[in-house]
């Protein structure tokens, strides 16, 4: 396509104006919220409302859309196809995961090429889903999973994993169990289940180099029926003692989301059965 020579091209690198706003605090110092209440009125261990929908993309074999208030994720799963560029036979099927932020999803514009963070999240996504999929059912084939974050407001990875698991089920990929994921942010004595972007920033930033206070974001992926943890990541600094009670708490949250996925799938099946009756 010939480029428009009269058009003024933008600079190669741009900086979002937000960084220069006086109230843009890179280290958001939360007024110690009254114990028991967060900025958005949630309780520390309250998850945001969950909205799920399957079959949103007609071109894909299976797809799902998930919303945690401002975190919006869409995921498409495509039919198994032969693994490209591979010579040897692989006895297990493979999952190809692509985790992508929409260019407009974050404060800073995301490029179209996956950056290091997106690649890392893709790895995590794959690790989280692999144990749940019956990969021996499609040897030498791969299932493509594309996760697109439309709007990022914290807990992106957790939302992506849950959404992808729903999309896989919608695509009728054989699975041992559904996986659900939940994040928790920890900052000193505060904890935020399902943190928003602002809360995540607070938990990620090391307040002072000397502090030994825990500051971390933990994401746990769980298969409720099998009682297995399929992926577990921490970023930040935290002592072991804090983990011991956080892990069971996270599992409880994962178990709470699990029936929502089931319901969504059942509704779908009923709908498609109903259609058949009349056709």
């Amino acid at each position: 396509m010939p480029s428009d020579s009269k058009r003024i091209t933008g600079p190669e690198t741009t900086i979002p104006y937000h960084y220069y706003l006086s109230d843009f605090s890179r280290k958001p110092d939360f007024k110690d919220p009254k114990v028991g209440e967060r900025k958005n009125g949630r309780l520390p261990n309250e998850h945001r409302p969950v909205f799920l929908k399957t079959g949103v993309n007609s071109q894909a074999k299976g797809s799902a859309y998930l919303e945690y208030e401002n975190t919006k994720v869409i995921c498409s799963v495509f039919d198994p196809r032969e693994i490209p560029n591979k010579n040897e036979f692989s006895p297990m099927g493979e999952l190809y995961c692509e985790f992508k932020f929409a260019p407009f999803s974050c404060i800073k514009r995301r490029g179209h090429i996956r950056d290091a963070e997106e690649k890392e999240l893709s790895f995590s996504l794959r690790r989280a889903l692999e144990p749940a999929v019956c990969r021996h059912e499609f040897p030498n084939f791969q299932v493509d999973i594309y996760v697109y974050i439309l709007d990022s407001d914290g807990s992106d990875l957790a939302a992506a994993i849950t959404c992808a698991s729903l999309a896989l089920a919608d695509a009728s990929v054989p699975m041992y169990d559904l996986v659900t994921a939940v994040s928790v942010g920890i900052c000193r004595h505060l904890q935020f289940v399902d943190p928003t972007n602002e809360e995540e920033q607070l938990c990620k930033k090391t307040a002072s180099a000397e502090s030994i206070d825990p500051q971390a974001v933990i994401t746990l992926t769980y298969m409720s029926t099998l009682e297995q943890v399929s992926e577990f990541t921490i970023s930040g600094t935290i002592g072991v003692c804090h983990l011991e009670d956080k892990i069971p708490a996270l599992i409880k949250h994962c178990n709470a989301i699990y029936p929502l996925l089931q319901q969504c799938l059942i509704k779908n099946v009923k709908k498609s059965l109903g259609k058949k009756k009349y056709s």
């Binding site: 692999e130 144990p131 009682e227 943890v229 577990f232 935290i238």
Partner: protein, 288 residues
């Protein structure tokens, strides 16, 4: 990963060995293989270290460059990890064959190293900072990459000497820096906040530390835990395609944390010991 071919009988043999706490090379479940560490082996780098953990050979070089800080962190320096899987390790790494593994390792490392304070690397806020390139070269693979790499990286950072900036002039919006070219006029990084990674591989019902390449193929899931001197954790990573039970996860992390603290202190002892030999110590490099 390096291609290790094991048949079922061999796998069972390893599994049974782990069960009775006697592994194929005579170690117990909690034992590391012998390690060799030498710092300052590459003179073109600001800091370097070579670590040999039985058959795993890692060479790390740290280079310093002046760069502009990220607009979102104007008062911090930059740290970048780059992993290169040399074809010397296995022909599978030829060309771009090792790239996937390399990307995975480098992204995990940068996550674990988020705890390292980067503020000292800032020279002029918003204008200039030091960028540390930590380049990791995998020369031979005999299992347990993460532990070996993290130890080598920590040793290389310990060995890194960042030149002193003797003057800075503001020249119409851009900064001119005067960097000392005296090799002795330099400062060193504080590495107390640099973690080491401890891998625990679940084989059968038990976990082993420092798995060999053969043991890695027998394991369905491994937990890598990044541990600081103080015992705090900076990252937990699951590798392998399996999953673990909640209780196993907690137990594994606890064990790894204890081992990590020990590993940290023995690494520091070794580094200080080498340091005390003075600058004229004999360097062995690859000739030993």
């Amino acid at each position: 990963m390096a291609s290790v071919l094991l048949n079922d009988a061999e796998k069972t043999f390893i599994l049974h060995g782990v069960e009775v706490d006697l592994r194929c090379d005579g170690r117990r479940r909690g034992d590391y293989r012998p390690m060799e560490l030498e710092t300052d082996v590459v003179s073109t780098a600001s800091g370097s270290a070579r670590l040999r953990l039985a058959n795993t050979d890692i060479l790390v070089g740290v280079k310093t460059e002046i760069d502009v800080p990220y607009p979102e962190n104007p008062e911090e320096g930059k740290l970048e990890f780059f992993v290169d899987c040399s074809a010397n390790a296995t022909p599978a790494f030829e060309g771009r064959g090792g790239e996937d593994l390399a990307n995975e390792i480098s992204s995990r490392l940068s996550r674990a190293y988020q705890s390292l304070p980067l503020a000292p690397l800032c020279i002029v806020p918003k204008q200039a900072c030091w960028k540390l390139y930590v380049d990791i070269l995998i020369l031979e693979c005999g299992g347990n990459f993460y532990d070996a790499i993290s130890l080598a990286v920590k040793a290389a950072l310990f060995n890194t000497r960042v030149p002193q900036v003797t003057g800075s002039f503001l020249d119409g919006g851009s900064v001119d820096l005067e960097v000392s070219d005296d090799p002795f006029q330099c400062w060193r990084l504080d590495i107390t906040k640099a973690p080491v990674l401890v891998t625990l591989s679940k084989i059968g019902d038990n976990c082993v530390v420092d798995p060999t390449a053969e043991e890695e193929t027998c394991s369905v899931a491994s937990i890598v835990v990044a541990v600081l001197d103080s015992g705090s954790l900076t990252a937990v990573i699951k590798i392998g395609e399996g999953s673990v039970h909640e209780q196993t996860l907690i137990e594994t992390i606890k064990t790894a944390q204890k081992i990590g603290v020990e590993l940290n202190s023995s690494l520091m002892t070794a580094l200080n010991q080498e340091e005390s030999l003075g600058p004229k110590r004999q360097r062995f490099g690859f000739l030993k």
